[in-house]
C-alpha cells in the first residue's frame, strides 16, 4: 500500500514534469533562453572577466557572473509557471485532476530547474577549453557547477512562488527580479554597510546570512560545505511551501 502510494506520487510528479518541460519547447522561449544564456555567459567571461588575459587555468571569471546572469534570465523561466495557468483558467482543470498540490508545485518546479540545468550544462565548451589550455582543478569546477545549479534552483523557487501571486507574467517577472536582487546582494558590503551604520550587529549578520553571494562564493572555492547546501535547499523548500499556500489562497481570484 505504502509502495503503491509512493509510486503514484512519483508518477504524477513525473507526468507534470514532462508536460511542463515540453511546454518550454513549444514556444521559442527555450531556444531564445539557451542562446542568450550561452552568448552572455561567453561575452561576460571573455570581455568583462578577462578570461584569457588572466592567464590562469580556472573558470572563476565564468562563474562569477552567474548570479547576475540568473537575476534577469531565471525570472523569464519561472514567470509563466503559475501566472499563465491562472490567466488561461487551466488552473481550474489542473487542480481538479486527481493530484495533490505538492505534486503540482514540485512537478512544475523540477521542470523549470531541469531546463535551467540543461542550459548550464551546455556551457561545457568552457570546461573543455580550460582543460585544453592548462591544468585546472576539476574538483573546484565541479563544485562551482553544483553551486551554480543550486543558486538557479533558489531563484526559480522564489520565481515560482511569486508567479502564483498574479495572472500577469510581466508582473511576476519584475517581482522576481526585484526579490532575487535583494537576496543576491544581501550579503554584499553595499547592503551590509547600509545596515551596520545603525542596526545591531546581530541583525546585520542575519541579513548577511541570507545573501546568495557568500554561499555561492564559498562553494565556488571548491569547499562543499553542508551549511551552504542546506542554505540553498531551505530557500527552495520554504519558497515552494509558500508557493503551495499562495495558490490555495489566490486560485479563486
Amino acid at each position: 500500500m505504502r509502495y503503491l502510494e509512493r509510486s503514484r506520487i512519483m508518477r504524477n510528479v513525473g507526468l507534470i514534469f514532462i508536460r511542463e518541460f515540453q511546454a518550454y519547447f513549444s514556444t521559442p522561449l527555450a531556444y531564445i533562453f539557451i542562446v542568450i544564456f550561452l552568448m552572455l555567459a561567453g561575452l561576460l567571461t571573455f570581455f568583462m572577466g578577462s578570461y584569457l588575459e588572466r592567464d590562469q587555468a580556472d573558470l572563476v571569471p565564468f562563474f562569477e557572473f552567474h548570479p547576475w546572469l540568473y537575476l534577469f534570465l531565471v525570472p523569464a523561466l519561472s514567470m509563466r509557471l503559475w501566472a499563465e495557468e491562472r490567466k488561461q483558467g487551466t488552473i481550474e482543470l489542473f487542480l481538479t485532476l486527481p493530484i495533490t498540490m505538492g505534486h503540482a508545485v514540485v512537478g512544475k518546479f523540477l521542470a523549470a530547474w531541469t531546463f535551467s540545468i540543461t542550459a548550464l550544462c551546455l556551457t561545457f565548451p568552457f570546461w573543455i577549453t580550460v582543460n585544453y589550455l592548462g591544468k585546472p582543478d576539476n574538483g573546484v569546477i565541479f563544485a562551482s557547477y553544483l553551486g551554480s545549479a543550486l543558486m538557479a534552483g533558489s531563484y526559480l523557487a522564489i520565481g515560482s512562488m511569486l508567479s502564483a501571486t498574479t495572472k500577469n507574467q510581466i508582473i511576476a517577472f519584475v517581482l522576481t527580479t526585484a526579490v532575487c536582487f535583494l537576496f543576491t546582494l544581501a550579503g554584499s558590503s553595499v547592503v551590509l554597510d547600509f545596515f551596520s551604520a545603525w542596526a545591531p550587529s546581530e541583525f546585520v549578520q542575519a541579513v548577511g546570512n541570507f545573501g546568495f553571494l557568500p554561499h555561492f562564493q564559498s562553494i565556488q572555492r571548491g569547499v562543499i560545505d553542508l551549511r551552504d547546501l542546506f542554505f540553498f535547499a531551505s530557500i527552495i523548500v520554504i519558497s515552494l511551501t509558500a508557493n503551495a499556500l499562495i495558490i490555495d489562497w489566490r486560485k479563486a481570484t
Binding site: R8, N12, L15, I16, R19, A23, S26, T27, Q88, G89, T90, E92, L93, L95, T96, L97, P98, I99, T100, K251, A252
Partner: protein
C-alpha cells in the same frame, strides 16, 4: 446504494458576500440536473466546491459516498468536470492533451490509447485531434474540454455551461452527447439558457443569490406559471430573491 451526489448545507463566503448560501440537494444516477440562475447566482461556485477546486466555508458534499473535505483525491478520481470556458493548454494538441489527462488519471499502454480514441470519437474531434488547441474554434475547444471530462467514464459528470457561446449545430452535438450518456451517469449542467432545460434535463433547479428557489421536473416548474412558460417562472423566482 449511496447517492451519486449529495450536497449538504454547502455555504461559501467571499469576504462579506455569501456566494452560496446553505444549499442542500441530492442527485441520483440517471438524472440530468439543470442548474439554472442569473449570472453570479452561485452556480459555478457550487460546482467548484463539489469538484474540490474551492473549499466550502461550511457544509459539505459527497460524490458516490466520498466526502469532498475528508477525501478530496477520491472525489477528483470519481467526477468528470468541465470548467467554465473549457480551459485547455493552448500549446498542446487535443490528442496530446487527452493523453496527458488519461495518464494523470492512471491509465497506461493500450488502455490509455483506447480511452483517448474513444472520447475523440464520441465528441467528434477526429479532424482536429492533431492540431494545436489554440488554433481551434470555440465549438471544438468545448468538445475537447468535454472529451477530457469523459476520459475515465465518470459516474458523476459536472459541466459548467457546456453549450455557452456555441452555434446551434454545435449545441446540438453537445446535447445529443449528454442525452446519450444520461441513463448511465448523474449529470449536472449549469446554464442560463432556459431552452437547454427542455432539451436535455430531467430535473431543473433555479438558484438565485446563492439559494435554491425552485426545484422540480421541467414540467413541474412550468406549471407554476399560468402560461406554462419557463421564462416567466425564472423571472418570477429570481426577482424576488
Amino acid at each position: 446504494m449511496t447517492e451519486a451526489l449529495k450536497i449538504d448545507r454547502l455555504t461559501k463566503q467571499f469576504g462579506l458576500k455569501t456566494a452560496v448560501d446553505n444549499v442542500s440537494f441530492i442527485a441520483k444516477k440517471g438524472e440530468v440536473l439543470g442548474f439554472l440562475g442569473p449570472n453570479g447566482a452561485g452556480k459555478s461556485t457550487t460546482m467548484k466546491m463539489v469538484v474540490g477546486f474551492l473549499s466550502p466555508t461550511s457544509g459539505t458534499a459527497s460524490v458516490c459516498g466520498h466526502d469532498i473535505i475528508r477525501n478530496p483525491l477520491e472525489v477528483k478520481r470519481t467526477v468528470g468536470y468541465l470548467p467554465e470556458g473549457a480551459p485547455a493548454y493552448p500549446d498542446m494538441t487535443p490528442y496530446g492533451f487527452l493523453k496527458f489527462i488519461a495518464s494523470i488519471r492512471g491509465f497506461r499502454g493500450s488502455e490509455k490509447t483506447d480511452r483517448v480514441e474513444h472520447v475523440i470519437n464520441i465528441t467528434r474531434i477526429e479532424d482536429v485531434a492533431r492540431q494545436p488547441i489554440e488554433t481551434l474554434s470555440k465549438g471544438y475547444k468545448r468538445r475537447v474540454g468535454l472529451a477530457q471530462s469523459l476520459i475515465h467514464d465518470p459516474a458523476v459528470l459536472i459541466l459548467d455551461e457546456p453549450t455557452d457561446g456555441l452555434d446551434p449545430n454545435q449545441k446540438q452535438v453537445v446535447r445529443e452527447l449528454i442525452k446519450s450518456m444520461a441513463s448511465e451517469k448523474c449529470i449536472v449542467i449549469s446554464t442560463h439558457i432556459l431552452e437547454e432545460v427542455d432539451a436535455v434535463c430531467t430535473r431543473a433547479m433555479i438558484i438565485a443569490s446563492g439559494k435554491v428557489v425552485a426545484d422540480g421536473s421541467p414540467e413541474e416548474l412550468k406549471s407554476q406559471s399560468g402560461a406554462g412558460d419557463l421564462d416567466e417562472v425564472f423571472r418570477k423566482v429570481t426577482n424576488n430573491a
